[in-house]
Amino acid sequence: MDVPLSWYLLVAAALFCMGLYGVLSRRNAVAILMGVELMLNAVNINLVTFWRYVAPEAMAGQVFAVLVYTVAAAEAAVGLALFIAIYRSRDTVVVEDIDLMKG
């Protein structure tokens, strides 16, 4: 507990912003998903840090983190299945070329 709380929050903020940049700037859908995973990890670091430093008796922080894991796993599985389906029908995973719904 020597490390101040804000150090963890700063690392998580940096990780979140790098994930955000990846999501916004990448063309490949799989790379965008990797950015999302980085952002989810940053959120989890925050949840666990606050659990440890502010309320270690209540298990809410850890339970939240476990639920984030579940959602992340579901999201990765469905997202990658979608990308593979799109790749099969349109032969690309570049998000700019997937514009069927564009008016």
Binding site: C17, M18, Y21, V30, R52, P56, L80, A81, I84, E96
Partner: protein, 166 residues
């Protein structure tokens, strides 16, 4: 500076270098390996925070499952990961600006405005943390726990249906 500071700095560096590889490397396969590195760093941070269970789960789920899934997807969509393909879109500079501004605001707020104003209640770690977590999951948080399992089932079925050969 204690040992804990040093370990924290090393683990943070591993995490952020991995994240940097994810967003900057043109070869998607290397980006995925950088992601694995970053996930290991986060697992180390969890261990440093005395959350051994989540550190193990991080290695199992993120390093073991999600990374493998992503590498599978990269392999299956192969020709788009070639090095010659441009990986950044036309709005990358604005994205960089947005990310930097967000980090600036967050960093300024966290480091200078609200730093350590939260009541730090350090000592009250539960005696058996994993038992406490398990008990919380089936008592107080039983409903979210069940909803999460339904979500996993739906995602499992959905992923199979979507990715199946027609």
């Amino acid at each position: 500076m204690s040992v804990e500071h040093g370990v924290f700095i090393v683990l943070s560096a591993i995490t952020l270098v991995g994240a940097w590889i994810v967003i900057a490397n043109r070869n998607l396969y290397r980006a995925a390996l950088g992601m694995v590195l970053s996930f290991f760093g986060v697992a180390g941070l969890y261990a440093l925070l005395n959350v051994g269970f989540l550190a193990v789960v991080q290695v199992l789920i993120y390093v073991g499952a999600i990374s493998i899934l992503i590498i599978f997807a990269i392999m299956l969509t192969r020709q788009v990961m070639d090095r010659e393909v441009v990986q950044r879109n036309s709005q990358w500079f604005i994205s960089l600006l947005v990310a930097l501004v967000l980090f600036g605001v967050l960093g300024y707020t966290l480091a200078f405005r609200v730093a350590d104003q939260w009541a730090v209640g350090g000592s009250g770690l539960p005696e058996k943390p994993i038992e406490a977590l398990g008990e919380a999951l089936v008592t107080t948080y039983a409903l979210p726990f069940e909803v999460a399992s339904v979500l996993l089932l739906v995602a499992l079925v959905g992923a199979i249906v979507i990715a199946r050969e027609k």
